[in-house]
Amino acid sequence: MNEKREMIRVEKLNKSFGDLHVLKDIDLEVKESDVVVLIGASGSGKSTLLRCLNFLEIKDNGTVILEGEKIEKETHNLNKVREKVGMVFQHFNLFPHKTVLGNVIEAPTQVKGVEKKKAIEEGKSLLDKVGLSDKYDVYPSKLSGGQKQRVAIARALAMKPDVMLFDEPTSALDPELVGEVLLTMKELAKEGMTMVVVTHEMGFAKEVADWVVYMHDGKIVEYGHPSEMFENPKEERTKAFLNSVL
């Protein structure tokens, strides 16, 4: 069997905010093209874990290995590391003073030094891909939540990341707008993007995830393929959680 390349490996990761121990000895492995979905109640640490993967939060101890390289803030330029790890936020965080296209080309031109003409070309094709070819010159305030999130996805993709992190990307959306964002994410998964997704959308987890990780109280309680996890969870806690959300 063709062994897939390892993209992310987390070993014995711990993180506290003051007295609050948010992540406790987390081990996680994500292989190339895998879609890993993190589920769990609010406060279980899934968002913090995600943020440790692109170093928006710095772990207290443990190891984060990206594409075979152990990343430490003392030895690595974290800005360079973040270029490889795209992130999509719950509240979109689009730059309101820039147009849709401006949002997408900002990082390629400013961080990577991509020529503006080329960045515009690539930016437009990304926006076409997420179905926003008629919104290049519009400001984010004129978009619906679903459109905003699709711009945010295009903006992250513009840096050509190896991994995409999604932090509850549909939680701030009106119900009727969730579908269009999930569809964009599904297409991305189909193209082979490595994705780690924190979400409450169990349908998405069932359909798209290669692995589902259930977190509770800062620990990974159970880890498995969606069919096993949803049909036949082993842990009592997982059963209770799934019963409450399904």
């Binding site: 270029e83 509240h91 992250a156």
Partner: protein, 220 residues
Amino acid sequence: MGKILHFFDVFINSIDIFVEGLWITLKLSVVSLLIAIVIGLFFAILKISNIKVLKWIADAYIWLVRGTPLVVQIFILFYGLTDILLIPMFWAGVAGLAFHSGAYIAEIIRGAIQSIDKGQAEAARSLGMTKGLSMRRIILPQAFRRAVPALGNQFIIGIKDSSLVSFIGMQELFGVASTMGSNTFDFLPYYITVAVYYLLIVLVLTFAVNKLEKRLAASD
């Protein structure tokens, strides 16, 4: 009735000399406020930095400015700069006003920066931007927009405060009014005249700031 006619007489006959004063007031205000923005931005960034010493420096500056009257600051800087450093009077006046407004503008900009949602910096950092780049490209442009009303207000205060440099002998608007008043012993009409000039400047500036606010709001 005669008094009112007399005021119009004074107003019209003194237009030439007041326009000279007006020109100096405008130069003083514009130059000092531009410098004050640079000073303000600098100290605002010191104040939000994680390095304690830099914060203290900013705090000390703001404390000095807030803790002493502007007229005292102008005199100290005037005698310090013109006697010791032999700097021309105009620039001593500019220095006094910029030093003063800078502290208030620093607080305005700091507040505006801190009012920008943390998600903006996070999004910028997640795209690989350095702290500096994220500040320059993402945070500051938004902060300045948000600060426009408060900055406009500070500019109005700055223009009116510029009248205090008449005490170091500058013949800007208020200096002209005082001189004319003393020369003729006809104080009241000249002070009313100068009030009209200030009102007109503030009227124009208020209009411009409102326009700018509307334009910026349109792109939001």
